[in-house]
């Protein structure tokens, strides 16, 4: 009897643990299924994060103003060249990942 209860509980637990990782995998597949060449819609705060990231990597994006101007583009290109990306100047998903801002890319893709 006691064994049966454990078995039921275990089964319930199993089914829960089986479904939960599936939702977790859902967020994972978002990151893995991103088109890295796509340019997401970024708000000013996102752009500020990118600008700070560029500055931390030794590039000069100009003022951290959340606006993608010529200085930011140049800094993006310099960063892309330095780290083996096509120097497109685009704030694409690959750039966000390269700066460690994958969460911005994933959020913007939703």
């Amino acid at each position: 009897m006691k064994n049966l209860v454990i078995a039921t509980l275990a089964a319930a637990a199993l089914s829960t643990t089986l479904t939960l990782p599936a939702t977790a995998q859902g967020s994972a597949s978002t990151a893995a299924s991103l088109n890295m060449a796509a340019v997401p819609d970024l708000d000013r705060e996102d752009v500020r994060v990118v600008q700070r990231g560029l500055r931390d990597k030794g590039m000069d994006p100009g003022p951290i103003d959340g606006v993608v101007g010529p200085l930011t583009r140049q800094a993006v290109q310099a960063f892309q060249t330095r780290y083996g990306m096509k120097p497109s100047g685009a704030l694409d998903n690959q750039l966000l990942f390269a700066l460690g801002d994958a969460d911005i890319a994933v959020t913007a893709a939703r």
Binding site: T16, A24, A31, R82
Partner: protein
Amino acid sequence: MQIFNKVANKHCATALFLGSSLLVAALAGSVSVARAQSGPTPSAAGADVYFVDIKDGATVPQKFKVHFGLKNMGVAPAGSNRPNSGHHHLLIDTYLPPLNKPIPNDFNHLHFGAGQTEADITLKPGKHTLQLLLGDKSHVPHQPPVMSPVIHVNVVQSGGPTASAPGAEVYFVELKDGAVVAPKFTVHFGVKSMGVAPAGSDRPNSGHHHLLVDTDLPTLDQPIPNDFNHLHFGAGQTEAEVSLKPGEHTLQLLFADKDHIPHTPPLYSKRIHVRVVDPSKRTPSPPGAKVYFVGLHDGSVIPEHVTLHFGLTKMGVAPAGIDRPNSGHHHLLIDTDVPPLDRPIPNDFHHLHFGAGQTEATVNLPAGKHTLQLLLGDAHHVPHNPPVMSERITVTVTKSSQ
């Protein structure tokens, strides 16, 4: 791994006995673990991967060792779930792959999944790019990615066991790519930062010259062949008289050690092209062809700064390099005799070339008596047969009154 699983199972079983609240807690824990495992693997703060001993712009031999440096993280083989660790990937001549997927596995993306921290690489001579990118247990880059900047290396062909001196060079003295030469001509060999020693001599930082004619570089870790295309100068000669058939030829110098094996890095000159012109087959000029100074005669008095006009009868002007019949370009000889007519007209202060097809020139001459003469040259600056040249005139240059 297995031990960890057992512990987890035991934990789970305990939770089942202890009641639902703990069960929920345990499940919540497993959810957060699952999330951490399925999203990008986080890298450690301040983590950095770098080339230990190769700098951007380095010159390296064809076979070389790359040491991978890793700061603030550990190396773990692929498949290992250890936090703050990963394994190296070497990207060669390629852009950074998509950072959200496993790093491709091919000739441009070398995996070091066994946790290697160095690699022996063989690359073709030429320019290449290298970049390091750490991957997690599934070969996916971390977040933020742990990657080095791209470095550029210049791979040079490896030679034999004898080292060449840093900065050493071999080169042709005076002979330039595209030169026009007679069938018999002298080649001067130059060497910088090393000495010339006969073959067999054990002197350090030395070697002897080899002239490669109409052939590619031989295998550079083997003795240079000895034949008509590979001329050896084992006595330590620094010049040679070379006989070549009329036509286009290539020449290249290759330095080698006492055993005729090129050094490492090997020392060879640029491969240059020469055009051998048979003097008996010089470009013919038409009968009556004549070149002359317009409005200038023997005994003319001219100012220091003067424009000379070149006249040409029965022939046309064509820039140097253009091989049109009955044409040529002007050369102005100042204070000099007629140069040898079977070879290219020298190019110096006494022999001014107008290879762009100019028909006049402004010259500055110091006051006094000077001789001037015009000599037409063919596409390769060699006078025609018969030569088309003006009389040599003597002019008196007077200080201009302004």
